[in-house]
């Protein structure tokens, strides 16, 4: 039983050797720093941030590229917590929960402690989570070898349904966005037969719609346009300035938080393995748990440190756990990991069950660098908090145009194509309209990235079964996924019906 565990530890040590080279350390550092800045900046979040910096990794080998991009990912998570605490504005969706108690702590003059506990909690969560990865990834990869095209197809469908269920308020609208994304994903070359589809002679469209353009457009430009469309009073904000000597939590703080951190890690890791926007669910679940089991529930909402420590740890654990389905199955379940998948493909690495065996230095190098990244965030970013706070004080009027310039420039560097700039404008307007009319962007982006895989799995499954649709149901793993899909589809309808019946009973009686 211990055989593969020992081997995994061996690989992990090798991974540290890979991640610990001066080169890769610098990329990790750069990524973490840039990521934090991106997380702190308004109008751009981890999704657009990672997408924008992919071209900067073109000259690097795959391992270094992913190390840097992953650094941006959790750097942005940390930056997002910073704006939540100092500004009561979530830097990205997973930091919404941190606003609740984090901002209250800041208002009471405890901003430093809140920020410190975020970093410490994330670090501890990351340390524990890495062991989870070490022990779970190889056996999961082995299990995934039994996956064939039908299993991949059903799992991806499940992932879409769960994501659409959890994101936004309307399952129907999210599903529409997913299908829309799948359709525009078919533009370009057919992944199985290689014929051109929907290109109508345009050379630019031959390679399909660039997912980086959609990411930057929907999540970058779209967000900025939404900001711009709000009345100008909202453009200026008040920032709380943390004092440097406060950046150390007291022993009492630590004692209070450690339970929340451990629990948050467990919750986050479990949720991270499951399809869906894991960090968001994880933070919410952790906050609810902490409030329920706390001896002083009335403190929550008024600056309870557990309300910050738990969710932040859960967030970090979920982000790390999300790497498992990404690398083991090649299926990302949330937009940031979808972008990372795109980056991997650009660098010629196709994640999947075989990858861990064939490219151990990539997987374990990235896992080790995640740990190093957590360490860097703890040690380096905390003292830099005043710098980030000052960035926040730059008026939005100046920051937003800078971000636009950065977006347009960054987009151009991907393909050197003006067509891509038109694309980000188009999807920027689309993103703005989607925010206005309550449609979610995550399913669209995920569909765009996964579309070719989904289609390939679909057609291959039918080729295997010679046209028999039963292939999806006759294979047990695939059937389990499809059953789960049906449950997730039907559940909201039952919930709504149940609510109506109950309301009818109350008003009737």
């Amino acid at each position: 039983m211990g055989g593969w565990m020992f081997e995994s530890l061996q690989h992990l040590i090798n991974g540290f050797a890979v991640a610990g080279t001066i080169q890769n350390l610098s990329y990790c550092l750069l990524g973490a720093f840039v990521g934090t800045v991106i997380g702190v900046l308004p109008g751009i979040g981890p999704i657009a941030g990672i997408a924008l910096l992919i071209p900067a990794t073109y000259g690097l080998n795959a391992t270094s590229a992913i190390i840097m991009l992953s650094g941006i990912y959790y750097g942005a998570m940390y930056g997002g917590s910073t704006t939540s605490i100092l500004l009561n504005v979530p830097g990205e969706t997973a930091s919404v929960i941190t606003c609740i108690d984090g901002y209250r702590m800041a208002q009471k003059g405890r901003a430093g402690q809140a920020l410190a506990i975020c970093a410490i909690g994330s670090f501890i969560a990351g340390t524990i989570a890495i062991f989870g990865l070490v022990f779970l990834a190889p056996p999961l990869a082995d299990a995934a070898l039994a996956f064939g095209p039908p299993e991949f197809f059903s799992l991806m469908v499940l992932g879409f349904i769960v994501l659409s269920n959890v994101t936004g308020k309307s399952l129907l609208k999210s599903l529409m966005m997913a299908v829309f994304g799948l359709i525009i994903g078919t533009i370009g070359l057919d992944p199985v037969a290689g014929d051109a589809r929907f290109t109508y002679g345009s050379v630019s469209l031959l390679s399909g719609i660039e997912f980086v353009a959609v990411a930057i457009g929907l999540f970058g430009i779209g967000e900025i346009l939404t900001n711009v469309s709000q009345p100008s009073e909202l453009l200026d904000q008040k920032v709380i300035k943390p004092r440097l000597r406060e950046l150390y939590p007291s022993l009492q703080d630590l004692k209070k938080s450690i339970g929340a951190i451990i629990r948050g890690t467990g919750i986050g890791f479990g949720v991270g393995l499951v399809p869906g926007p894991a960090p968001v669910i994880a933070t919410y679940a952790s906050y609810m748990t902490e409030r329920k089991i706390s001896k002083h529930p009335e403190e929550f909402g008024k600056g309870a440190i557990e309300g910050v420590a738990g969710p932040e740890s859960a967030n970090n654990a979920a982000c790390q756990a999300a790497f498992i389905p990404l690398f083991v199955l090649g299926i990302p379940f949330a937009p940031p990991t979808a972008i990372l998948l795109g980056a991997l493909l650009i660098h010629g690495v196709s994640p999947g069950p075989l990858m861990i065996g064939q490219h151990p230095e990539l997987f374990w190098g990235v896992v080790a660098s995640m740990y190093i990244g957590n360490l860097i965030l703890l040690v380096l970013n905390l003292p830099l908090v005043p710098l980030f706070a000052n960035i926040l004080r730059i008026p939005k009027r100046i920051l937003l145009p800078l971000v636009i310039l950065f977006c347009i420039t960054g987009m151009f560097t991907v393909n050197n194509s003006i067509f891509d700039i038109w694309m980000i404008l188009l999807f920027g307007v689309l993103g703005f309209l989607m925010r206005k009319w309550a449609y979610e962007g995550a399913p669209l982006l995920l569909a765009l990235v996964l579309g070719p895989k989904l289609e390939t799995a679909f057609r291959q499954s039918l080729m295997i079964s010679r046209g028999d649709f039963g292939v999806f149901i006759n294979r047990p793993i695939s059937m389990v996924f499809l059953l789960a899909t049906v449950i997730f589809l039907v559940f909201p309808i039952f919930k709504a019906l149940f609510k109506k019946i109950r309301q009818g009973q109350i008003s009737g009686a």
Binding site: F180, I221, R466
Partner: protein, 154 residues
């Protein structure tokens, strides 16, 4: 909000229909050997079904509570700001090649800062110049990424 919902659902419905029509012109093939057009064909049908359901849902909700008026309070200055902002972006895309990167980025910053309310030209020009020069230096000199030169030749 409701007008937007109806409009968007209709547009998506038509998009689905267009997908169905266009993909039926491609080889659909059989289930045993799916052709290029099969996947988009079924996706188009699915989108039509979903958006049709949404339209029906809106229609029935409308019937039950017709007084449910969700009018939006939109400041007209904010709307103007947004339109001007978009115009600046479109102009940038149009002239990116011709004017070259440094000049375009300078003009872009200049116009966006003005649109967002920086009224003093001195500060505006200073920030725009620094931003344009800085990004030129970073991308073209340091990162060695080719940017359009325009007729100025930079």
């Amino acid at each position: 909000m409701k007008k937007g919902e109806i409009f968007s659902a209709l547009v998506l419905f038509l998009f689905g229909a267009a997908t169905v029509i266009l993909s039926s012109k491609m080889e659909i093939g059989t289930f045993r050997k799916a052709g290029t057009g099969m996947f988009p064909f079924f996706l188009g049908i699915l989108l039509m079904v979903l958006s049709g359901s949404l339209l029906l849902k809106i229609f029935f909700k409308n019937k039950k509570a017709p007084n449910d008026d969700e009018s939006e309070i939109e400041a007209p200055e904010a709307k103007k700001q947004l339109v001007l902002f978009l115009c600046a972006l479109v102009l940038t895309a149009l002239f990116f090649d011709k004017l070259g990167y440094p000049l375009t980025s300078f003009l872009l910053m200049l116009s966006l800062l003005r649109i967002l309310g920086i009224k003093q030209w001195g500060i505006n020009i200073l920030i725009s110049a620094v931003a344009a020069a800085g990004s030129y230096f970073l991308f073209v000199q340091v990162l060695n990424i080719p940017m359009p030169k325009g007729w100025i030749g930079i």
